[in-house]
Amino acid sequence: MTDGKQDRKKAPLGWIALAVLVVALGVGILFSLGPWGDGQEKLRIGAILPLTGDSASWGKQGRWGIELAVREVNESGGIDGKQVEVVYEDSQAIPRLGVAAFSKLTKVDEVPAVVGDIVSATTLAMAPHAEEQKVVLMGISTSAPAITNAGTFTFRVWPSDNLEGAAAADWANSKGYKKVSVLHMANDYGAGLAGAFKSRFAGYGGSVVSVQSYAQDQTDFRSNLTRAKADAPDVLYIIGYYKDVALALKQARELGLSMVFMGPTAVENPNLLSIAGDAAEGLIYPTVVDFDPANPTKRQSEFIEKFRAANGTDPDWASSHAYDAALVILEAMKSGARTGEQIRATIDSRREFEGVTGTIRFDEHGDVIDKRIIIKTVRNGKFTVLAGTE
């Protein structure tokens, strides 16, 4: 009897708690959907970035770059008198989350264009939806070769890995290396870059003695590195994000591997050095030369100053390319384009834009072309240009 009375007392409390939860949820949904604010009509675009997760440092830089581009437009009066607003969503660099974010941006926020993602796998997952929804998708640093044929609504301001892979192969060949082992992340980015490198290097008569892949959340590379040790290559090319490459370098040194190590552009992140320490010394990697804070153009100097004032830190390749990705869309909207189809048509017809990374020239597939690659290295704990490769 006592238990029954206690149960009856608990029941109203449970219903009250549930009601509070439902109301709170409803209010939250309304705030996220409703046109709250000053009541002025705004032009909206979307941005999908890895704001949390392993790639969050790039996502943060990317967000700052987009914010700067939009702020500049808004401070000069907006587009046709309307302010531009960006709706940000977090992909965590995970394809299924990127797709969910894209769906929310296009169906709920009804944006005509989305800037993103930083990583190829997410952009590739979103591309079919961009095609179906007729929404422009502007990749920031999405380099997988497969993006070239991802659809007519997908563009990117970063060159295909075919360029980076070829540059890596060219450098290895120029140094007389004949045997290379490749260890790549098991996703579109890793496989694409590995494939581009392999085909170019084979063209020189070089031999890729082994190609291994690793799972994206892997932290112990010892069995892969032991295999590489057994293959005894001249070069070990590790293709992954900065955390994976840093851990692989650390463990490689612990295992006593002493061959030349190469990495992709994605290694250029201070966290690589804080994880790998001395193990990163001598790491070779190619990178697109369109933005170098050490040698800025006049326009880049202005960009760097504004970025520094707004964010208290210097921009990098992620923020400069995110800025340009947003800039292309905003330029198209300044020409009067409002829908995804109109924005696409404007970009396709104009083909050339001037950004902080220089001239952004698109080909018929939406790929940026005419970009130059240089080779950099880690020397004395800093990322520096390798002499003779400028």
């Binding site: 392993d54 799972a215 069995s223 892969n224 057994a230 650390k250 001395d278």
Partner: protein, 287 residues
């Protein structure tokens, strides 16, 4: 020859990590009777607390702090949250509750430390080399600690009153209570021990690799598999950890990234289906 030796060292290093976490999970499972994912939260506390303390204290002291804090968390959660829930809800609901604890732990870690990877020490660890063996001092130390911990646990379970109480509870909780075993106090002590073991695994992880909030679930899943393959007994968890370490490292040598996981779990599934106590016969179904 050196390649085979490197592989063996890698297997043993991974075995130490899995053995710590799988015995932590197995102990919690045996006394609690449900899949306790809050062990993952203790793993995270061990890793992050060790990292935090290492900013101001020597590594040995910071590891001890991390491990103790992990034990405190496990005991606190066990006493005040999990044990009270255990008498009111089903094992499935308890599993979900501990999953919530794990996710909360991950979120707190992400808010406090960010989502990037943290290492105890930048750069490669110092290595000891006696040809053809090459092993880091971190691996040597934690390998010895893991071995000592597993032996100590077995001695505790077999030879101490509280350990024997824990064995009795794992066999039959109601009967143990009828025979005068202080069930709640014994379970509380088991949570302590489980937390310490998980904290040790976390400290090892941050010392040998790099920790981020998402790693807890990944490592815990492997530990659960090791514990189940081993037949859920403590010794079985250690054997299961060895089986898993051997499979991961040898398959990792031959197979591509995503295939490793597929083949590993396919083999494990086959072992479970055909089990009939294959490994459980080696480690009898008692602690």
């Amino acid at each position: 020859m050196p390649v085979a030796v490197d592989l063996i060292v890698a297997i043993l290093a991974l075995w130490a990590l899995y053995a710590l976490l799988s015995t932590a999970f197995s102990l919690s499972f045996r006394v609690g009777g449900f899949f306790d994912l809050s062990v993952g939260a203790s793993f995270l506390v061990g890793a992050y607390a060790t990292w935090c303390c290492s900013r101001v204290a020597p590594v040995a002291v910071s590891t001890a702090c991390g491990v103790v804090l992990a034990g405190v968390l496990a005991a606190t959660l066990g006493r005040w949250l999990v044990a009270p829930l255990a008498v009111r809800v089903s094992p499935m609901a308890l599993f979900v509750a501990t999953l919530a604890i794990l996710y909360i732990g991950q979120s707190v870690a992400a808010l406090a430390f960010g989502t990037g990877a943290l290492v105890l020490q930048s750069g490669p660890a110092a290595t000891a080399e006696i040809w053809p063996v090459r092993v880091t001092y971190v691996q040597l130390l934690f390998g010895a600690v893991a071995l000592a911990a597993v032996v100590a646990l077995r001695v505790w379970l077999r030879s101490t009153p509280w350990g024997r109480f824990a064995c009795a509870i794992s066999d039959d909780r109601s009967l143990a209570g009828l025979f005068g075993v202080p069930v709640e106090k014994a379970i509380f002590r088991c949570y302590w021990v489980s937390g310490i073991l998980a904290g040790l695994a976390g400290a090892y992880f941050v010392a040998d690799r790099a920790v981020d909030p998402s790693q807890a679930l990944t490592m815990l899943l492997s530990a659960m598999v090791a514990a189940i393959v081993g037949g859920e007994a403590i010794l079985g968890a250690v054997l299961g950890a060895l089986v898993l370490a051997v499979m991961e490292k040898t398959l990792g040598f031959w197979l591509q990234g995503n295939w490793q996981t597929t083949v590993t779990f396919a083999i494990l599934l086959s072992v479970l289906i055909a089990r009939g106590g294959a490994l459980a016969q080696v480690a009898r179904r008692r602690m």
